[in-house]
């Protein structure tokens, strides 16, 4: 049994979500509901749920406002958060950087089940909630100014300075992260997803399987079809069509 709090300003949507959870995730027990920032904070303080299903758009603010308030009074947040969003594009990127769970309206039962599974795993492992702080940090900033990224692995969520990531390598549907002073990490997301997140932070996809942080590029070798040597002394091939772009980028560095 997992205790949950449901915060949404639409009464019907709360009802629908409740039936959906009953139908597809019967282990979730709704122990409280709220419809605004104000009532949400109170309900959260009072009920101390394990999970909060949190709508972004509320009548007197946003779901982030609740988290800000809790984090201010308690110092930190120790509840799993699942955001529910209709079309808030700006938030999606912050969620992705923070490895935070989110559901899109109308909620797809399959995705709901996947999310519940992840939460159960996290509860078992007693994960930290640092990534929620990262989310709040990132929500306050502009997208291209994000400093850190949360990487979710089988043994928990890890936060890293984006500038510490040397490179990423695609391994089928997984991505292997090579990080400064850290062992490589295998993340269950595609390289393409990270390419979308990191190109604004000085990363470049120089090959079908490689995304590199340009600040760790040591040298560019034109021979043997062209490759780069990274700061960790690995040689990374460059695909034919990326050469020109890479040369331009190196020039502009």
């Amino acid at each position: 049994m997992i205790t949950a709090l449901l915060i949404d300003d639409d009464k019907h949507l709360r009802k629908g979500m409740k039936s959906l959870l009953e139908r597809y995730a019967s282990e979730i027990v709704i122990i409280g509901e709220a419809e605004s920032v104000k009532t949400g904070i109170v309900a959260l303080e009072k009920n101390k749920p394990q999970v909060v299903f949190l709508d972004i758009h509320l009548s007197d603010g946003t779901g982030f406002d609740i988290l800000e308030e809790i984090s201010k009074t308690n110092g930190k947040i120790n509840t799993h958060i699942v955001f529910i969003t209709a079309h808030e594009q700006y938030a999606l990127k912050a969620f992705k950087f923070s490895a935070l769970d989110f559901l899109l309206k109308p909620v797809d039962p399959e995705e709901l089940q996947k999310t519940i599974t992840k939460i159960k795993e996290a509860l078992e492992k007693n994960n930290s909630f640092e990534h929620i702080d990262l989310l709040l940090e990132n929500i306050r900033k502009k997208v291209d100014n994000f400093k850190r990224i949360a990487l979710s692995t089988s043994d928990g969520i890890h936060l890293f300075e984006i500038s510490d990531i040397i490179r990423c390598e695609s391994q089928d549907n997984y991505t292997k992260f090579y990080i400064k002073n850290h062992k490589p990490l295998l993340i269950s997301k595609t390289l393409k997803e990270y390419e979308e997140l990191l190109t604004e932070h000085g990363f470049e996809r120089i090959h079908q399987s490689h995304l590199i942080n340009l600040s760790y590029l040591k040298s560019y070798i034109k021979n043997d079809g062209g490759y780069v040597i990274m700061a960790d002394n690995t040689n990374i091939p460059i695909s034919q069509r990326k050469k020109e772009r890479l040369q331009d980028l190196i020039k502009s560095l």
Binding site: L92, K105, P106, D108, E110, K192, E195, Q208
Partner: protein, 643 residues
Amino acid sequence: MLLLGISSFSFAQQPVIDSLKRVLNASKIDTSKANTYNALANEFRESNPDSTNFYASKAQDLSRKGDYTFGIANAYLNKGNANVILSDYPGALKNFHQAQQYFEMLLKNGSEIDALKIKNGLARSYGSAGVVYSEENNYTKALENYLKALKIYQETGQTTSISKAYNNIGIVYKSQKHLDKALEYFEKALRIQNETGEQSAAVTLTNIGAIYFEKGNSIKALEYYEKAKNFFAKIDNKRGNALLYNYLGDYYKKENDVGFAIENYNEAMKLYQEMDNKFGVALVLYNMGQLYIDNKKYEPALAAVEKSLALAREIGTLDQIKYSEKMLSEIYTLMGNQPKAFEHYKQYILIKDSLDNDENTRKFVRAEMNFEYEKKAALLMEKNKRQQQFTLFLIIGGLLLLVLIFVTYNRLQIKRRLTLQKEVAEYEQKALHLQMNPHFVFNCLGSISSFIVQNGTDSAIKYLSKFSKLMRLTLEYSKGSLIPIDKEIEGLQNYLELEQLRFNKKFEFLITSSQAIEDDMALPPLLIQPFVENAILHGMVPKETNGSIQVNFDVKNNQLVCTITDDGIGISKSKAIKENSVTAHQSMALEITKKRLEMMEATTAQSASVDISEILTQTGETVGTKVVISLPIQYTSDTKIRI
């Protein structure tokens, strides 16, 4: 001031004269005889003016008898030349004038004689008249005639004569003390003479030497005189040679080398006497007189100057008379013979007064000449200026035109680009409407509603989430010009699943992509969907049994190729059915897609195409439809689409 202009003539050669005489004996026709007489006269003109006169008269008589105008004209020319040598200037001018009239008559009326010959004859008569005017100190007239001659020679391309004209113009300028201008013309003449190897170069060299002498550059003067002397040694030009000796005499006089001076004056005198040129003799005698005075040898000075005066009086050169009278007065003064001195001084004043009157007119003429020349120069400058202005206008005009063309072209380009962008946007909009086909949207909603009514909540929720995913993708990517290929596949997947649910599993589908497809490839949004929709609506739906649809993405020939195959009823059958219905949807989809592909070709400069065909069995039966869409390979980084 005594000024002497000389014209440069070529010299006579004995062999030439002999051969001409032989021709004369052989000629039976009067015209050719006249020509030969004239040629003979011309050959003698420098060395023997009497012979020239003799032969010219003979030519004239013959020509008159034969009414041979060209011969008459040439005879007048030759007679005039003889007059020049004999210092009979009025006679010379009369003859040259006659020659000019005859030549001009010939030119005007036309004749069997070569126009070039006539023109050259005319030019010669002008040139010679110029020489006479020059010797008469009438420089305006001289210059006028020389320029006329020069113009004709330039027309006929007679380089030798052009150089002569330059030389003579130089002489006029020299006489007017325009030494630099004179030098300029002499050098022009010399350049041509050196090129053509003309013997008249000797005369030009003499003249250049004289200019340097007048400029006070003795070294240069002597240098040129020496050059001229060497030249004259090789040729026979008594007149020119005599002048050179006279100039050399002047040079040594100035250098106080009396011996050499006298020697040279004597040489000059000898030559002038040989030619019976009284003007020249008078000049040399006067110069010698000056030399004797400078050296206090009054007796020989008196003898020389008195001789000079007598000759000057004989030929009536007032300038020479004036100078000689003045010098005689000086000599008598120096000798202490006051009455004689006074007598000559009176004579001097007398002649001077009459000359001053002349001089006044001449001054006036000179002023007029200067005015004329300034006017001409101004006109020329004006013309140049106008030409420069014209060129400037032309350049500015050209530049303006270029700018105009550039601006127009640019504007057109911008307009074209804007139009293209507008069209692209317009057709993207249309494509969006295609996908957001109200029919499809409301059918979907209707399906959801019926699921709920029939208590199929599960199906309703699944259906709804797929629908919302499709809507999300459509809304998100229809704004951009490219959609990442994985998103396109996701969209198609959702769409096909929706239709599958809607048509109650009437068909199966499979979306595949080859290894060659990279995950950051992209294509225009909403391009594929209408063809899939066609496959369902016109291939699957009318089909009696269940069917299947395959969508495949691949890279072929450097193009992104999407192939949609179905085992439906085929297009021809579908069209037959459609004729009985009112849907215009399919044709619109194809039309819009074709337009979009055209614009894609325009923006990427690569080919894009769509090909629709029926799949036939070996027996020719239709077993489905195949749509092949070939697109340029584009990448998400091309437009930097980011979520």
